[in-house]
Symmetry: C2
Subunit: 151 residues, 2 copies
């Protein structure tokens, strides 16, 4: 049940110094210490670590994650702040997903472009390609790309 910092780090695919850094930044106030000052990670600490990992994945800076942890320690009075924070995180993630979809369309188009060009040994023929000559699926991608940038 109890884990040393190295074991906890391995389980979270992090380094021990990273966990120490998070602790120093105030992200891990819930981690217990042994009599001699050694960090002892318990099962429930991994819930917190997974949540921190999740918030980091939304692009949240350490400073703001600390704010959230602090709110958790303050108790029920900060429930509205925490609710608002997650609503805001939700918006941020949805925005990132849209951005990533737009990026994927361009990458997909380029994949087709370079697959075709590499097969032909040159991309000159592609320069004079007309939209009508594109394969159906590539044309669709191209249309989405053009629709987005408003050209």
């Amino acid at each position: 049940m109890p884990y040393t910092i190295s074991e906890a780090a391995a389980r979270m695919h992090l380094s021990a110094p990273t966990l120490r850094y998070y602790d120093k930044e105030g992200l891990l106030p819930f981690v217990d210490r042994s009599a001699s000052g050694v960090r002892v990670f318990k099962e429930s600490d991994f819930e917190w670590l997974r949540l921190i990992e999740c918030l980091k994945a939304t692009g949240m800076p350490i400073r703001d994650i600390k704010q959230f942890i602090d709110w958790c320690l303050e108790g029920d009075a900060t429930l509205p702040q925490r609710r608002d924070m997650f609503r805001e995180r939700r918006r941020a993630v949805l925005a990132q997903m849209e951005r990533l979809q737009a990026t994927l369309d361009i990458i997909d188009y380029k994949c087709w472009y370079y697959e075709t060009a590499a097969k032909a040994g040159s991309d000159l023929p592609l320069q004079s390609f007309k939209p009508e000559d594109l394969p159906e699926d590539v044309r669709k991608i191209r249309e989405r790309i053009l629709a987005r940038c408003g050209c």
Copy 2:
């Protein structure tokens, strides 16, 4: 048709120093200069800038984007490398999308959790919640979360 560096930056929602930085890093070898050494951006340069923006959005570091630009300058011989690069970028974007979907599930769950807790003024009742008591949609999210971490 021609743009100064500040105009080009404004159009790309970047700063002029950022464009100079990109140029210094070798990302903009295609940008022309006036007789007195002033950068002059033409329409086709924005295609390049949009592509650089796209590659950055995939999480690609500047160094690797420069590699791609260099390949472009080298001509047809590097078409396979460029094709492979975009295939690899595609994999990276799909992985990011999956990661973001997993993150969104956790955030959605937390949104429900804190909306419920904030309404109740406390999150204690939620601690003893049974999965059966969850609303249908929240239960679905919860199941996806659990399925992912393999618990």
